[in-house]
Symmetry: D2
Subunit: 384 residues, 4 copies
């Protein structure tokens, strides 16, 4: 396919936070062009967004239903290859489902759906259609996260014993949703966000990061969810003890009331021989710890970094990469899979190293289990 891939977008209007992130991330590598969109259900906003993005007005739609109907009728050399779904959580399922049913691949913003049932329905649809679904668990897109995963898999640290993963933010330390803040409002509204607040919004990232790097699965949780800010409708704080399928254990914390924190996702892992420490806010450094020798600082793109991780860097060492590049790495991997796609031939998203529908189902299951554990007086609750 000697051409750029054609992307459509659902959501991502002018006031959107994540829409522009997807567009910039998709644009970095010059492999994707945005050709159409249904950007907003606010009357007129979809059109205004399309104008601001220099799109052909004929391909700017008022609803995603309209978009998929129109696009699938276009000739093969014009219609979209895939769609990005960047709406609030409760509108992830609808467009994703219709896209798959219309024969389009899908990139969907995390969480994959509003609840576990929807997630499982998408899983079946992906299985049935053989189409590709990418889920933007962005933080696993960082090159040093790839390196960490490879080091663990290569046994550099021996058997993993302890995992501490944290995601503290501070921006919901006050009742921000009471001030009309759009981002705060839908995230703290059970009808738009789902059954989890902080645990769904960011706790899932933490769990995904821990499982991605270690290659382990969380099997049991002992959770405490809190609603710290009076008047809030969902949890804004969570801590839990966790157990993994290899016998390792640890702690997962995700909170949005850690006043003064920005977006401080971080992880520490310890094995028999050593461990690692990585912080998303300074993503180009990772500290390695060893039983009998000095700590090391490894850095994105250096000569000693594995090819697996280097495949996800764009600039030479010393030229820092950031969140957009990590995000773009998911699009890069997804794009590669779309180019390899042949109808009727099943591709394994793991081979391309991007999160897919199974990660989405697991994430929804995690949220549901944590909420259940939090309400229980029993110490441990199993996670399927």
């Amino acid at each position: 396919m000697k051409r750029k891939l054609r992307m459509g977008m659902v959501g991502g209007g002018l006031t959107s936070f994540i829409g522009p992130v997807h567009r910039k991330a998709a644009g970095i590598d010059g492999e994707i062009e945005l050709v159409c969109g249904a950007f907003s259900i606010v009357p007129g906003e979809s059109k205004a967004t399309g104008d601001a993005l220099y799109l052909n007005p004929n391909r700017v739609y008022e609803t995603y239903q309209e978009m998929f109907e129109a696009e699938k009728k276009l000739p093969a050399d014009q219609r979209i290859d895939f769609v990005s779904v960047v709406t609030p959580n409760h509108v992830h399922f609808g467009p994703s489902k219709m896209a798959l049913e219309s024969g389009f691949h899908v990139v969907v913003e995390k969480p994959i759906s509003f609840n576990l049932d929807e997630a499982k329905e998408l899983q079946q649809l992906v299985s049935k259609t053989g189409l590709l679904l990418g889920l933007t668990h962005t933080y696993t897109g960082y090159p040093l996260v790839k390196e960490a995963r490879k080091m663990v898999a290569d046994g550099k640290f021996g058997k993993i014993r302890k995992v501490f993963v944290e995601y503290p933010q501070g921006w919901l330390s006050t009742l921000l949703e009471g001030t009309g803040n759009l981002q705060a409002s839908w995230r703290t509204d059970p009808k738009q966000s789902g059954m989890g607040g902080a645990i769904g919004d960011i706790g899932t990232h933490a769990a995904n990061l821990a499982e991605y790097i270690t290659g382990l699965k969380i099997t049991e949780v002992c959770a405490m969810l809190n609603t710290v800010v009076p008047g809030r409708l969902l949890d804004d704080d969570s801590s839990m003890l966790i157990k993994f399928d290899n016998g390792a254990s640890g702690v997962l914390m995700a909170t949005q009331v850690a006043a003064g924190e920005e977006n401080n996702l971080n992880i520490r892992i310890y094995g028999e021989k050593g461990g690692l420490e990585w912080k998303q806010e300074e993503p180009n450094s990772m500290i390695l710890k060893w039983l009998d020798r000095p700590k090391e600082i490894i850095r994105t793109g250096m000569g000693y970094i594995s090819q697996d991780a280097k495949n996800f860097t764009r600039t030479p060492a010393g030229h820092p990469e950031g969140y957009l590049e990590a995000f773009a790495n998911i699009y890069r991997a997804f794009t590669k899979a779309v180019r390899d796609y042949k109808p009727g031939v099943k591709l394994n998203t793991k081979d391309y190293d991007f999160p897919g529908v199974d990660d989405g189902v697991h994430g929804m299951s995690f949220v549901q289990t944590v909420v259940e554990s939090s309400k229980s007086n029993q110490k441990w609750t199993k996670l399927d």
Copy 2:
């Protein structure tokens, strides 16, 4: 009392780790002189230690019993003012008790005793005699820990909501006690160390630090203790969810199998308006976090530090202070109390800002409760 205080020592022979620390810490300020000791039960070692310390051989004893008997018969202008007890955990109680009964003040290495009952007996004895007992929970001796406590008390962060306190070490990542290592051997032996391994050795420091800075009390724990290294007889790893008496919650972690960690006690506290972060390994810096303004780095001894904290510094800003100075701060505060002491007049150790017998009892209670919680299937266990 226009003279140096006279100190005796129980334990702290030539192979001791903590004995020399106590002697150096006591020696920094020029307020204390070591005049006698019963340094070891290994025949000859007490004498050899006394020689190495240039002590008068007449005041180097084979047993603490012998020492207290002899010292209390000396004239008032010769005999010791207080004794430092620096033996392994299971020999803290005996010498402390006899010292108090012989009329001497006591500094005792943490934990105060082998079990809760002993601790309570010492508490009663202190109450009855009116003598002073200092407990070397060293880490609260750092000037910035004092500053942190004051900032919380002054309401700088608003109501405290979250506390994350950690104490990861890596030195017991292998079965070190199997190699004849003395420090590892007694610490992992239930007969010498008590019912807790890592939780007793370092978890108590973490709990003490959290309660000291916040001024709050831990009321409930939900604990997971692990023995990670096969063949070990006590826990070497612990994590727990915790609740405080003001409604705050958090996580406490203390582990000795975090390969590559040294002695990384650290704490993060978040309140309504901001928070703080401090790490024992770089104790002269503390990060303050704020809702609406930049993070700040405060540093030991700077002009903006409170007098309360400055009282515990010895060098000007930019001249780093360390563990010995923090340790010396406990002796400094204890010394001040001893100088103020008058028989029959009860002094409050809180006024002098050093840990005392109540902290010791609370610490033993903490260990007992955590061990109990760890064995329970119920989520929460109350801490008295």
Copy 3:
């Protein structure tokens, strides 16, 4: 102009380092599309590059001369708006000159030309044509560099007294050019690189950064250039004392033999009331230092950051931005100017905040003066 700008490229073939950086940077914001190029003088490589970039083969040229001739004949709704020149140093002048003479705006990779005379000729040409020329002094594109500049201009630090700017790299610690490494070979070849080695390649970035943030001009230098690695043809190490036009002084260091360093451009500035410290390798944090209060850590995109700096961020606080985004900021500012451009009306590049032809001339003058100073036995050499 309700459309994307059309960009052509000179240089940037398949083995190029900086070409892809320009393309990715230009692609992030969705405001520019690459439509043509003369990517290489190696036969066939230009075509291969065009193919890899999905370009129309009709607009992939063998030489830049051919490209400008063809493009200026295209209808206005097809031909390029501007060209990016990303060739080695000695081929910056030719394409830039011809582009301006052909009526196209220019973005040219730093340094603007091979020597001062060429730079001055471009300056005259820009003045004569009124066309826009942007120079990619990338490092001033970082948001916190913008913030630093504003803080200095607003007098936050009082009068500036001291400036320490450094650019240590380690990649030329060995005779890499002897191994066939392309990047090393042209950079250390006086015929391709110019009269300066490290001083021209990276020293100019350091000088530019210092002058950009402070708003001051370097007036005198006392320089030591060294060729540390035997067999090298140009300087690979430089240090100099510098004086500024307000009476401030400082040190500039740029070296490529600092073994173990990546790309550690950093600056420290001190004024009467405080100062700042910034490191390119962790560009989202800047430390502020104050006479009488704690150091502060400011971070990209936070609420307290000025709008001037926020205009150059793409992601919310806590989502790190990197080198590509800084690079893209030069394209963003340049794009804005191109959209505002009207023939016959002179635009001031300072209003758009991107480096231009005057910075290019000043940079070449800086290199020439430093080389001269280095050869002189006199302490100080004036810089025009």
Copy 4:
């Protein structure tokens, strides 16, 4: 000599900054007891100081002359072994000279004297008497500085190429001496401080540190001294290019007008194979940089640290050591030499690893050469 060494002190009265530092440093290891002093020329202050230190009033003197006269008449089992001279710079020479002439070893605070001539006279006196003279260039007392020196000597970094050593402070950013501040007043007074201000006070520490670690000698300087704060009588800021005797070069900076800096002595060294970076304010960590592998963080007291450096630690890894401990290390080494001392047998201070009279002479020569260079229009000035 089975006893503590007996120390006298000249200077170090109640308002002294450095006197208490010497006393605490000398007291840590339990090898030294302070027995007498001439603490101040302010009437009554010497006595008050003696009282505060619990000294025998008979051995508290009004003048150092009186002290040496009295002490040398005391029986051998009472009189001092050595004296610490901790007066302002212009009173270093007198007491040091008289001590040596009276048969006492000397520890003298840096700089060794007011000018080069005095330093040379002391050098001759030491040579003639064979007595020991220790100079408290404190910063070389840190364990990791010892480790750095050993790594360079062992060739770990290959031939040294570049040295960057800096000593920025900010406390003299305003005319503090105009406010009656004692520390500022004598340091900025040419009659008490000598011909150098910042360069003498802290620049000498920087030079000493660079030469100590590298084992190289500075052979040429090209210096710029500034008096930045109007009204000040001596330089408060200095920067210089430097050359070493092995062909290496670098930069030395020492300033007291870097607003917001505390006491930020730091050094970076680069050799053919790698380099190191150390900062006095966080002295327990050192970063190692390597051509082809990750940076390492080495830490005081860890298992991989050499015995040479471990000899100068007092606490186990992870228990930070500070300035007092570094200071105490000079006393520790000096004490060892005093114990080994035999009249008529020359000891080499290098064998004991403490700074001595030759370092003192070299330091005074350095200051004189830098001041000369600063006044010269010639680029380079040779340093003997």
